[in-house]
C-alpha cells in the first residue's frame, strides 16, 4: 500500500508520495526504529542530520527518542538549539506535521512547540515497560480516527516523562481538545495505579492548538511489528498517514 498526500509545501494540489523525515541528533537512539516503522508503511523515509538546514521536502518530520546531547543540563534542552531546529520550527509554523516521541516530545516541550513540560518521573527511576493508552482528542489528526473505547498497549522507556502544565494551561488543553492520550489500565480506566510516571491527569501526549504538532512519551514505533508480538502502535502511526488523505 502506498499512501499519498497533498504537498502543502508548494500548495500544488497534485498527488505525491508522502515523505517522512526522522531527525538524528547526537545521542538519538530510536531514530532507526522510527525509520523502520514508517518504512513498513511503504513510505519514503529519510534521516535528517541535526547539523543540516534542509528538511528535504518532508511532509512529516519526526523527532525520535533517545538522549540527545546526552540529555545533559535537562532533557531536550540542548537539542532544541540544534541547527536543524530552525527549519523544523518553521515547518511547524507553516502548518507542517511534526511528531515528537519520548525525547522528541521533551524537545518539543523545550522548544515550546507544545504546551507543558516533562519532569523527572515521580518514582525517581527510569521505567521501561508496556503500558496502556486511551486516545482522547476527537479533533487531532493523531487520535481522531482511533477507537476511543480501547486501551492501546504501547511501551514506555523514560526517566523524565512526568507531564506537567499549570492550571491555566491544563484548562486550555482540555477545553481545546489538545490532550492526545491518557495512561490507563488494561480495561481503559485512567487510574493512579495506571500512571507510570506521575503525569498530571495521566496525560501521555498532547498537541499544539493548531493540531499539527504532536508530542507523546510512549513509543508507538516499538509496537509496530508483528514479529515483536504487539502491533497496537501501528494504529497510531497509521493515523498520520490515512488522515492526511481525507
Amino acid at each position: 500500500m502506498t499512501l499519498y498526500t497533498y504537498d502543502f509545501s508548494t500548495y500544488d494540489y497534485y498527488l505525491c508520495p508522502m515523505k517522512v523525515g526522522v531527525v538524528v541528533f547526537p545521542g538519538s537512539n530510536c531514530d532507526q526504529d522510527a525509520v523502520d516503522a514508517f518504512e513498513s508503511f511503504d513510505l519514503s523515509v529519510v534521516k535528517l542530520w541535526h547539523k543540516d538546514h534542509d528538511l528535504q521536502g518532508c511532509d512529516l518530520v519526526v523527532l525520535p527518542g533517545g538522549f540527545s546531547y546526552g540529555d545533559y543540563l535537562r532533557t531536550g534542552a540542548v537539542a532544541r538549539f540544534s541547527p536543524i531546529m530552525t527549519e523544523v520550527i518553521a515547518h511547524a509554523n507553516r502548518g507542517g506535521y511534526l511528531m515528537g516521541i519520548c525525547n522528541g516530545f521533551q524537545i518539543l516541550a523545550e522548544a515550546q512547540l507544545v504546551p507543558g513540560v516533562l519532569l523527572r518521573n515521580t518514582s525517581q527511576q527510569y521505567v521501561c515497560k508496556n503500558i496502556y493508552l486511551k486516545p482522547q482528542s476527537t479533533s487531532a489528526l493523531l487520535t481522531a480516527g482511533l477507537d476511543h473505547d480501547r486501551a492501546y498497549k504501547i511501551p514506555i522507556a523514560h526517566g523524565d516523562g512526568c507531564y506537567f502544565a499549570n492550571n491555566e494551561a491544563l484548562a486550555r488543553l482540555n477545553d481545546n481538545d489538545q490532550v492526545l492520550f491518557r495512561y490507563c489500565d488494561e480495561a481503559g480506566n485512567s487510574t493512579d495505579a495506571a500512571n507510570p510516571n506521575g503525569s498530571l491527569d495521566n496525560i501521555a501526549g498532547v498537541c499544539n492548538d493548531r493540531r499539527n504538532v504532536f508530542g507523546m512519551m510512549p513509543h508507538p514505533e516499538r509496537a509496530a511489528d508483528a514479529a515483536l508480538g504487539n502491533t497496537d502502535g501501528r494504529y497510531i502511526l497509521e493515523q498520520l498517514l490515512t488522515a492526511v488523505l481525507a
Binding site: P26, Y126, C128, P155
Partner: protein
C-alpha cells in the same frame, strides 16, 4: 631518557604490585633498571587483569574451536561466530567487580561501556546486552545501596547508549557482602569480511587517539582489580573510572563509520591499562613498533605525568592505526560527530624477529622505551602454575544425607510456596529490569513472549536484513559451584544450553566470566582449576567452544573471605527459523502439563534446603551429562515438530517454581500431582538437573505421546493448566493472585 628521579627499587615495584622475581625479569628484558614510567607500564601489563598470568595455563585447556569460529579466544577483543548469511556475531562478557564494590554506579556503568567497546571496536554493531550480578544479604542497607547503584549505573549507561538490556541474572548470598559481582555481556553483529582487527603495521602509518580526552581517572585500575578488597581500598577511589554514555554513543557511530571506509589498519578500545595496553597489544600482534608523542594526547588537565597519560583508564577512547594519506577522511568523520581525533604517533619498523619497540616521548624527552612483545599475554608476560588443594569443607558437604531433614507435609506446602516465590533469589526481577531499556532497537522478541533465554532479532542500522535471531543467556548457580566446582561449572554450561534449547535456539558458543577469590590461596585456586575442568568438559559435549571472556580473581576480603566461585557462562545461540520460537507461558486451560526428565530424591544445594531448611552444607544437585544431552535433544525435536505449547527448564526453586512461573506468565493456574516414589520436597522443590516442564494442547497430545514413547527419555504427565489457583495433590497451595503478587512485588518491597 628520564633520569632526573632516582630509579625505582624492588620496594617501589612491590607497591605497584610487581613481585621481586618479576622485577628481575623486567631488568633482564630491558637490559637495565626500568625508570618509574616503565615500571608502571610493566606493573599494569603484567597485572592479573591484563596478563591472565595465574589463569592462562588453565584457560588454554578449554575447547576453543568449531566450524563456526571466526576468531578464537584471545585473538581479538571478543569472540566471533559465523551465524550464516554472511554475518557474524561478536560477543563477550566482562567483569567490573572491584570498581562496583567501591562506587557501584560508576563501576557498573563503565563495565557496560567497556564491554560494548570490545564489541564495536571489531566493527560489530551491538544489538543486545545482558548482565550477571551477585550481591550480599539483601537485608543489609549496604547491599541495597549496592543493588540500587549498580542497577542505576547499568540503566543510565545502557539506556543512553541505546542498546537494549534483554536479560540477566541476580543472586543474593552473604558471601558477596563485601565483594559484589558485576558481569556485563554484549553481543553485536558484523558482516564477515568487514571485521576490524586489533593490530598495527605499515611503517609510517599514523596512530590516532579518538573519543574522550584523557584524565587521571582509573590510573592503576588494572592493578587495583588484582588485589583483595580492604579498608584501604577506598583510598583508591581515583582508580574507579567515570563513564559518559553520550560519548560512547557518538564513538560507536564514528567508529563504525571509519571502519566502513576500509582505511583502518587496526583499532582497539582503551579499557584496562589505557594507552599502554592498546599500543603494546596492537604492536605485538602486528609485529611492529610505535613512536608516540604523549604531548599530543588530548588531556583533561595540564601537566599529567607520562605514567598518568599511559595508564589512564579514562573511558570512551579508541586507538586507531590508519593508512597513511587517509588522515583527512578519518578526521572528517570524527569532526562530524564532534569527537577528539588526534594523531599521536606513527608505526615504526621492527627488527627481523618482529619484536617492535614502543617509544614514548614527553616534552621532547624519551620517557619510556619498552618492547611491545614482552608486555603482553602470549609474549613476555609471566605465566604461573599455582598450587591448589581441595578445601576441607568439600568432603563435609558431600556427607549430606536427605533423611537428615524432614520431608514437607501437605500442610507445609503453602508456607514453602510463599517462601520460595518471594525469595530474592527466585522472585521476579522486574524492580531491576524495568529500569533498563529492554526494547530500543525493536529487536527484542521476548518483551511480549517470555522464554528461558532472550531472543533478539539480527537487526540494526547497517545490518543486512535476515530472519535470524540470536538467543542469549547468562547462567551460573554459584552455590552449586561452591559445593562442587567441577559439577557446578558443568551445570552452569548445561543450564545455559537448556535455556537456549527451551527457547527454540541452537547453542553455538560460550563466553565465560570466571569470578574467584585470591589465586594465591590454594583452596581458592582449586575452585578455579576444578571449575575450568568441568566447564571445559561440558563445553566440549555441547559443542559450544569458549570464545573468550574474562577472569576476575581477588573477589575476596579480609573480613568475609572469598566469594562463592562464580564461573558465569554467557551463551550464544541461534534461531534460524522464527517459527521455532518457544515460550515458557502456559497457554490454554485444559492443556496437559508434562515433566521431561526424571525426578530424583534430591534436595542438595536447593534454595529450599539452603534458605527454608537452613542447611548450608550439601553437595551439588544431581547431574548426569548423558541425561542432560538426551533431554535437550528431545526438547529440540518437540519444538520443531510443534508438539508442545510451552517449555520451561527446572532450575532454582525446583519443579513447583517452574510450573508457577509458566502459570504466572500465562495468567493461568495449575493442578499437579506429586509422585509417591519420591519425597514430596524433593519432587516439588529439589533442583536436580536435566528436567523441563512442557505443556501440550489436546490436539497435540496424541502426537506428543507417540513421539515420547519412542524417545529414550523418561517423561510423566503431572497435571493440567487451570483457570486459577496452584493446586498440588488436590489441595490449593496458593491462589494465583497471591502468588503473582508475592512474586512480582517481593524485590520492589524490599527496595522501597
Amino acid at each position: 631518557m628520564e633520569l632526573l628521579d632516582p630509579l625505582p627499587t624492588v620496594e617501589t615495584a612491590r607497591k605497584l604490585g610487581v613481585l621481586p622475581d618479576e622485577f628481575d625479569r623486567i631488568v633482564t628484558i630491558l637490559g637495565r633498571q626500568p625508570n618509574f614510567t616503565e615500571l608502571s607500564i610493566f606493573s599494569v601489563m603484567w597485572s592479573e587483569h591484563c596478563s591472565y598470568k595465574n589463569s592462562i595455563i588453565w584457560l588454554k585447556t578449554l575447547p576453543r574451536d568449531s566450524d563456526r569460529m571466526l576468531a578464537k579466544a584471545g585473538e581479538e577483543n571478543a569472540g566471533l561466530v559465523d551465524i550464516g548469511d554472511g554475518l557474524a556475531c561478536s560477543f563477550k562478557i566482562e567483569s567490573h567487580n572491584h570498581p562496583s564494590a567501591l562506587e557501584p554506579y560508576q563501576g557498573a556503568a563503565t563495565g557496560v561501556g567497556g564491554i560494548n567497546r570490545d564489541i564495536f571496536t571489531m566493527g560489530a554493531r551491538p544489538i543486545a546486552q545482558l548482565n550477571s550480578l551477585r550481591f550480599g544479604d539483601l537485608s543489609l542497607p549496604k547491599t541495597r545501596r549496592l543493588l540500587r547503584g549498580v542497577t542505576k549505573g547499568i540503566g543510565d549507561y545502557g539506556n543512553a547508549f541505546g542498546i537494549p538490556t534483554v536479560g540477566g541474572e541476580i543472586y543474593f548470598d552473604e558471601c558477596y557482602n563485601t565483594n559484589p559481582l558485576v558481569n556485563a555481556f554484549s553481543a553485536g553483529i558484523v558482516e564477515i569480511g568487514k571485521v576490524a582487527k586489533a593490530t598495527s603495521y605499515g611503517v609510517g602509518n599514523p596512530v590516532f587517539i579518538v573519543g574522550s580526552a584523557t584524565g587521571k581517572d582509573g590510573i592503576h585500575g588494572a592493578t587495583f582489580a588484582s588485589e583483595d578488597i580492604s579498608a584501604a581500598s577506598t583510598d583508591k577511589l581515583p582508580a574507579v573510572q567515570v563513564g559518559d554514555p553520550f560519548m560512547e554513543k557518538l564513538l560507536l557511530e564514528a567508529t563504525l563509520e571509519i571502519i566502513a571506509t576500509g582505511y583502518v589498519i587496526g583499532i582497539q578500545d582503551m579499557g584496562a591499562a589505557g594507552i599502554i595496553c592498546s599500543t603494546s597489544e596492537m604492536s605485538a600482534k602486528g609485529e611492529h613498533g610505535m613512536v608516540i608523542d604523549l604531548d599530543k594526547v588530548p588531556t583533561r588537565q595540564p601537566n599529567m605525568a607520562p605514567f598518568e597519560i599511559l595508564l589512564s583508564e579514562s573511558q570512551e577512547r579508541m586507538l586507531v592505526v590508519i593508512e597513511k594519506g587517509k588522515e583527512g577522511i578519518i578526521q572528517g568523520i570524527f569532526d562530524k560527530w564532534d569527537l577528539h581525533c588526534a594523531q599521536i604517533g606513527e608505526v615504526t619498523a621492527a627488527p627481523a624477529d618482529g619484536m617492535g619497540r614502543l617509544h614514548f616521548y614527553r616534552y621532547g624527552q624519551l620517557v619510556a622505551d619498552v618492547p611491545a612483545h614482552d608486555l603482553v599475554l602470549g609474549g613476555g608476560a609471566p605465566q604461573y602454575r599455582r598450587d591448589y588443594k581441595e578445601p576441607a569443607y568439600i568432603k563435609e558437604f558431600a556427607k549430606f544425607r536427605i533423611n537428615t531433614v524432614p520431608d514437607v507435609t501437605p500442610a507445609d506446602l503453602g508456607d514453602v510456596a510463599r517462601h520460595l516465590l518471594s525469595h530474592p533469589n527466585i522472585c521476579s526481577r522486574r524492580w531491576v529490569y524495568e529500569q533498563y531499556d529492554s526494547m530500543v532497537g525493536t529487536a527484542n522478541r521476548s518483551t511480549n513472549a517470555p522464554s528461558d533465554a532472550a531472543v533478539v532479532r539480527v537487526k540494526g542500522a547497517g545490518i543486512p536484513k535476515t530472519d535470524k535471531s540470536i538467543v542469549i543467556t547468562v547462567d551460573c548457580n554459584s552455590r552449586y559451584v561452591n559445593a562442587n566446582p567441577f559439577t557446578g561449572a558443568q551445570i552452569a554450561v548445561a543450564e545455559a544450553a537448556r535455556n537456549i534449547v527451551c527457547t527454540g535456539g541452537e547453542p553455538l558458543a560460550v563466553t565465560n566470566n570466571l569470578n574467584f577469590g585470591n589465586p594465591y590461596v590454594p583452596e581458592v585456586y582449586w575452585h578455579f582449576v576444578e571449575a575450568v575442568k568441568g566447564m571445559g568438559e561440558a563445553c566440549a559435549r555441547f559443542a559450544t567452544p569458549v570464545t573468550g571472556g574474562n577472569v576476575s580473581f581477588y573477589n575476596q576480603s579480609s573480613d568475609d573471605g572469598p566469594v562463592f566461585p562464580t564461573p558465569t557462562i554467557g551463551m550464544l545461540g541461534l534461531m534460524e527459523n522464527p517459527d521455532n520460537r518457544m515460550t515458557l507461558n502456559f497457554q490454554n486451560e485444559g492443556d496437559t502439563i508434562y515433566l521431561i526428565g526424571s525426578p530424583q530424591n534430591d534436595v542438595a544445594s536447593s534454595e529450599y534446603l539452603y534458605s527454608y531448611r537452613k542447611v548450608k552444607a550439601s553437595p551439588a544437585p544431581a547431574f548426569d551429562m548423558e541425561q542432560e544431552l538426551a533431554v535437550q535433544t528431545i526438547v529440540k525435536q518437540l519444538i520443531t515438530k510443534k508438539l508442545i505449547r510451552s517449555a520451561h527448564d527446572i532450575s532454582d526453586g525446583g519443579l513447583f517454581v517452574a510450573v508457577a512461573e509458566s502459570a504466572m506468565a500465562g495468567g493461568r493456574g495449575f493442578a499437579i500431582n506429586t509422585d509417591g516414589e519420591y519425597r514430596r520436597d524433593a519432587y516439588l522443590f529439589g533442583e536436580s538437573q536435566s528436567r523441563v516442564i512442557v505443556s501440550v494442547s489436546a490436539e497435540q497430545q496424541a502426537g506428543f505421546e507417540q513421539f515420547m514413547q519412542k524417545a529414550h527419555v523418561s517423561y510423566s504427565q503431572i497435571g493440567s493448566v487451570t483457570a486459577s489457583d496452584y493446586v498440588v495433590d488436590g489441595q490449593v497451595v496458593i491462589a494465583s493472585d497471591t502468588a503473582t503478587s508475592l512474586y512480582n512485588n517481593a524485590l520492589g518491597e524490599i527496595m522501597a
